[in-house]
């Protein structure tokens, strides 16, 4: 038996979480370094996955592991990755070390003067981050619907504590009020996602009942169900399929989030610390859009096609609505949250455009949005930690005193507005082209998003970074070495993937083609195809 690479990739951060949590109260610094070391080890394993993964092999899932788990209910411990999962695991593994590094001092304010044996916020903070990573990786790897569901839901618990327990302390409000808002945001996050999860659970059980009835033994295995459907052994009635699809989709749409299920996100991102906000939007939310591609489309192809018109409209509303609300925000982090809602609209649009460009674009978008939002949010976090305010109006002229901070903020902002040369452009354009070639009107409307993106990014930059220097920011220091170590690699990655996205498209394309064949859709043909003579030239 070969080395269980997928299990190891999820297990290492989990072990890291336990080890970090077990560090004695006095060894705070060591706990941080330990967490970072485990995050880097995970990154190494994710890199190993990338190396071992063979995009040309033609198999849908690779590096598979499969063991019986709860045999009575047909639940298997079944793992496997396709190109999309590898890309997203890579994203997660890349981001978490930066999240840890950026949040190096975030838990310090909670430490009392005396080391307390039972209350160890630093250890807890980093252990929770690693725990989230482990669960997210597991959710990306699981090819058993039940196993996926388990981690899809379980990751809410550490996220809940990260949002509620380690919130942003930058507000000038009284601490009690801030704590109330924090716990409100955390509870809202939990309730929304639990509600989605419960509906999904019903659908999961329904799926089991259907398989048990028709196959003779109930199963949750994605591969088995897909094969059985292809062979005609498993046939879902139209209404059943639609109901199950809606159950799954609802949960993913809450997680993603799709308008009008988005209202938990601004609160959760606004009230948590910047690194946790990155964890929410760049890592955890990606599980939602990823699951649409992997589970909704592959398990319920006909129902997906049936629901497409409505979902496309909702995605368009998300794009424009999120962008317009971002323009009106007065709080930097809420602005970024609404911008993310707009971007998730693009991702969902790409997924449901059902073209190779749209779906490849959506996958790249998940990765690129993760990196660009992480960069923007973390720099915003550094800015906020200096001034102690999240309000845009409290800044002005920062560019003069902290040019590196302002410059990197601008680059991250430009990535957010999809400037060519930076990674998000490639994915956004692919999504737009993919959508346009099937739904020209929707593609055209979505393109409005690029104007609005420019508006909210540039307004944010103008109000915070340019203009006359405001008195409270006069003594603001520029980025420190640790902060630069967070920002510089992210920006380098944005530039690299913007100019040379091929390493990503190479592994993503086969997976997308597989998904497309599952849904049995092909790209629309060009209206005026080239003649052979023109191709030859």
């Amino acid at each position: 038996m070969s080395f269980p690479l997928l299990t190891a990739t999820a297990a290492i951060p989990a072990v890291g979480a336990v080890a970090t949590a077990a560090m004695p109260a006095a060894r705070r610094s060591a706990a941080k370094w330990l967490a970072l070391a485990f995050a880097l080890a995970t990154l190494g394993l994710a890199a190993a996955q990338l190396v071992r993964f063979d995009p040309g092999s033609g198999r849908a899932f690779q590096l598979t592991e499969s063991h019986a788990w709860i045999a009575d209910f047909g639940v298997r411990y079944q793992l496997g990755v396709d190109g999309i999962a590898v890309a997203l695991i890579g994203l997660t593994a890349v981001l978490v070390p930066f999240v840890i590094l950026a949040g190096w001092h975030d838990a310090d304010v909670l430490e009392g003067a005396e080391p307390n044996r039972r209350w160890r916020p630093t250890q807890g903070f980093f252990a929770l981050i690693l725990l989230v990573e482990a669960m997210v990786v597991m959710a990306f790897e699981a090819t058993d619907v039940f196993l996926f569901y388990l981690f899809f839901e379980a990751m809410l618990v550490p996220m809940y504590f990260l949002i509620g327990g380690f919130g942003d302390r930058a507000g000038q409000r009284p601490e009690q009020e801030a704590a109330d808002r924090r716990s409100h945001a955390a509870v809202k996050f939990l309730l929304y996602n639990l509600a989605g999860g419960l509906i999904m659970l019903a659908a999961v059980i329904g799926l089991y009942a259907v398989t048990a009835g028709q196959l003779g033994h109930g199963t949750f295995s994605l591969t088995e169900i897909v094969q059985a459907r292809a062979a005609g052994r498993l046939q879902l009635a139209t209404t059943t399929e639609r109901a199950l699809f809606l159950g799954f989709f609802f949960a993913f749409a809450v997680k993603a989030p799709l308008w009008p299920l988005h209202t938990w996100l601004p609160g959760a991102m606004g009230e948590s610390t910047a690194p946790v906000a990155v964890l929410i939007t760049a890592v955890v939310d990606k599980v939602g859009t990823f699951a649409m591609l992997r589970f909704c489309l592959q398990l319920f192809p006909a129902a997906s096609k049936w629901a497409t018109p409505v979902i496309v409209v909702l995605a368009l509303v998300s794009i424009l609505y999120g962008a317009l609300l971002a323009v009106a925000q007065r709080d930097i982090k809420r602005l970024i949250a609404y911008a993310s809602i707009s971007h998730f609209g693009f991702i969902i649009l790409g997924v449901f455009a059902m073209t190779t460009q749209g779906q490849s674009g959506a996958t790249l978008y998940m990765v690129n949005h993760g990196i660009s939002t992480a960069a923007l949010m973390l720099i915003a976090g550094f800015l906020i930690s200096r001034r102690g305010s999240r309000l845009i109006a409290d800044y002005g002229g920062v560019q003069k005193v902290a040019p590196v901070l302002a410059g990197t903020f601008l680059v991250a902002g430009l990535a957010t507005l999809s400037l060519p040369g930076l990674a998000p452009f490639v994915s956004e354009f692919l999504v737009l082209v993919g959508t346009f070639s099937r739904y020209p009107v929707a593609g055209g409307i979505a393109t409005l998003g690029i104007v609005l993106a420019a508006l909210y990014v540039l307004v944010l930059y103008q109000r915070t970074m340019t203009g006359p220097l405001k008195e409270p920011v006069r003594a603001m220091p520029d980025l420190r070495v640790r902060e630069l170590a967070v920002v510089a690699p992210l920006i380098a990655l944005l530039l690299f993937l913007g100019v040379y996205p091929k390493p990503l498209t190479r592994i993503v394309n086969p997976a997308v083609e597989h998904t497309m064949s599952q849904v049995s859709r092909t790209d629309p043909r060009p209206d005026v195809p080239l003649t052979d003579a023109e191709v030859a030239k």
């Binding site: 209202t263 009106a328 490849s360 593609g443 393109t447 690029i450 104007v451 508006l455 060009p526 005026v528």
Partner: protein, 643 residues
């Protein structure tokens, strides 16, 4: 040879990277390094030019694909270059004028705190602009297109501490983004139509495509061109863009970037030729803008804004020419090149004047400066003669040809377009003479101290003390002299033996239209309106003394000072309307979307409050409910049995 094209783009890009990331160590040598790299790309351009000249006229296209940029399914975007005569013309203009302006900036920005960054941005601009004109497909062109937009944003807002500069930069980027939206939808449409968006197959396949589709594509491309080239209705950003340092105005907002729209239309010629309706839209936009810009230019007292109006107007000429099809392409591009020389020269002259006048921009506070800055006066004067179309100078050859071509379109359209172009020529002569007279002739109005109650058009620059006009250093005057030479000679050189027409013809095609008016008559009319315009300006600003405080003026003047109401429209409709929309949406998000969820939570809470009353703590009431429940269950079971 082919690989040099990539290097052409890479050299300034490298410069930008080094200068922007290099840190303070490079502060001292930064300007020279930037200039050197710009000059290096010019040298590469000249080498390539020589290479092209060495080939036969039909074989002057170099192609190279460096690597696949975005390969997804049928979608293939390459990083690939294509250098033909059209691109080459642009490359030489961009690198040539660009290098001169880099040199000029060394002097102009000498007292600035961060010249290194300025040169980094300039190099970035060069790289993006070169990418734009050498790309072999629309998507890469789009990358360059947005790249120049970014460079323009950064440079307009270079003095970020001024809120007006930051606002102007943002405005420029946003208005351009509206145009960019057109370009990106056009690319999508090209992809769904042809399955590719590389120039060669698309342009070859244009004649097999339906007119409706081509019209849609062409109109979208026109929208893009309007944004980048400041054409009506997306022209409003150019005037504000003058907040940037003057070399930027000269390079980006006069000579090169704003002409990208003309490049796009000319490059996409076959698409437009298959869509006569779109061509009509192009010429209409061109004609309207050339008058619009000229009228705005007449009313501005800010020297740079007057020149910006002029730029808009001159690009209107080029767009008009490009919309005429093969009878106009060559002349549009020729005017573009000559305009690149004289307008850059004029802007550098304006910068030199401002440099010597404590950054004063109000022409009503100039006057009689010819004595103090002779070199500036002469070079500016030559540029002036060139732009108004003085016989023998550059502008004469190129503009005259465009007017001829406009008449040659034939029919009523031809008369209207030709008439508009002639009228534009008259107004050009008027406002440029006005600029010339206000700045270099007449009373020395700058000696009058500004009185505090005077509402000045540009209050920002006043420092209180009187300026001491002086000539600029050599590093600034040399580029001005070179550009002045170009403005004098270029048009003549291009026209010898129709050299320029022959050079571009293989790419753009060329046909002589059948003009209802003879060429001599057009030239005569052009000269007549030229004299008229100059005379009118002299009567107003040469003969009579000019008041320092601008008179109230007629309705048209006041309207033109406010850019013919474009900003008021934008403000009311977009800024205020948009603000209300977003605020309304915030309310909706909070009250309706979130409110629905919140309402659910509250009603669940209320329901549990009701149910809670049952839990009163009395064991006996619990026992009652237990017995009651058991009784109901038993009754139900018995009932089911009975049925």
């Amino acid at each position: 040879m082919e690989n040099l094209i990539g290097l052409l783009v890479l050299v300034p890009l490298l410069g930008a990277a080094v200068l922007l990331c290099g840190g303070r160590r490079l502060d001292r040598i930064g300007p020279w390094l930037g200039t050197l790299l710009a000059a290096a790309s010019f040298v590469i351009g000249v080498v390539l030019f020589a290479g092209l000249l060495g080939r036969s006229a039909d074989d002057r296209t170099l192609r190279v694909t460096v690597f696949q940029w975005v390969p997804v399914g049928g979608f293939r975007a390459d990083i690939g270059f294509q250098l033909d005569q059209l691109s080459m013309t642009f490359v030489l203009l961009i690198t040539g004028v660009g290098s001169l302006i880099h040199l000029y900036s060394i002097g102009y920005m000498a007292h600035d705190a961060r010249p290194r960054r300025f040169f980094g941005y300039l190099n970035l601009f060069l790289a993006a602009m070169l990418l734009l004109v050498t790309a072999n497909n629309y998507l890469l062109l789009y990358a360059g297109w947005e790249g120049v937009g970014l460079a323009s944003y950064l440079l307009i807002g270079f003095w970020q501490h001024k809120p007006s500069a930051a606002t102007a930069a943002k405005k420029a980027f946003l208005v351009n983004r509206v145009g960019d939206m057109g370009l990106s939808i056009a690319i999508m449409l090209l992809f769904t139509t042809f399955g590719t968006f590389a120039f060669q197959p698309v342009l070859a396949g244009a004649d097999r495509t339906g007119e409706g589709r081509l019209t849609a594509i062409a109109l979208l491309l026109l929208l893009a061109a309007c944004g980048k080239s400041a054409q009506v209705p997306l022209q409003s950003w150019l005037g504000d863009a003058m907040e940037g340092p003057t070399p930027v105005s000269a390079l980006i907002h006069a000579a090169t970037m704003v002409t990208a729209g003309v490049y796009l239309i000319t490059r996409s010629g076959p698409l437009f030729e298959g869509a006569p309706d779109a061509q009509l839209a192009v010429v209409t936009v061109g004609a309207v803008t050339l008058l619009f810009g000229a009228i705005v230019g007449c009313a501005k007292d800010d020297i740079k804004k007057a020149l910006a109006g002029s730029t808009m107007s001159q690009i209107g000429y080029m767009v008009l020419a490009a919309g005429l099809g093969p009878i106009g392409y060559v002349f549009g591009i020729m005017h573009l090149v000559t305009h690149g020389f004289f307008k850059a020269g004029l802007f550098l002259g304006a910068g030199s004047v401002m440099h010597g006048m404590n950054d004063e921009v109000d022409m009503r506070r100039y006057g009689g400066l010819r004595k103090y800055m002779p070199v500036t006066f002469i070079t500016f004067g030559l540029g002036y003669l060139a732009i108004i179309g003085f016989p023998g100078l550059s502008g004469f050859f190129s503009k005259d040809k465009i007017i001829e071509a406009a008449f040659a379109k034939g029919g009523t359209e031809g008369w209207i377009l030709g008439g508009a172009a002639l009228l534009g020529a008259a107004i050009t002569a008027y406002y440029m003479t006005r600029v010339m007279l206000l700045t270099f002739f007449g009373e020395e109005r700058w000696r009058k101290p500004p009185s505090p109650q005077e509402p000045s058009a540009e209050p920002a620059a006043h420092t209180g003390e009187l300026p001491h006009p002086h000539e600029s250093p050599k590093v600034m005057t040399i580029p001005m002299v070179v550009l002045a030479l170009g403005s004098v000679l270029a048009g003549g050189l291009f026209s010898v033996n129709d050299a320029f027409v022959k050079w571009l013809e293989p790419v753009t095609g060329h046909s002589e239209g059948h003009s209802p008016v003879s060429a001599a008559a057009v030239t005569g009319a052009t000269l007549a309106v030229l004299v008229l315009g100059v005379a009118l300006a002299w009567a107003q600003y040469g003969r009579a003394p000019v008041p320092v405080v601008p008179p109230r003026g007629s309705v048209l003047t006041r309207l033109a000072r406010r850019d013919l109401g474009q900003d008021d429209f934008n403000h009311v409709v977009l800024v205020r309307g948009g603000g209300q929309l977003t605020r309304g949406l915030v309310e909706i998000d909070h009250k309706l979307v979130d409110g629905l969820v919140h309402g659910t939570a509250v009603s669940v809470g209320g329901l549990s409050g009701l149910l809670r009353r049952l839990q009163n703590g009395y064991a006996r009431s619990y026992a009652v409910s237990m017995f009651g429940g058991a009784a109901v269950l038993i009754a139900a079971t018995l009932l089911m049995r009975a049925v």
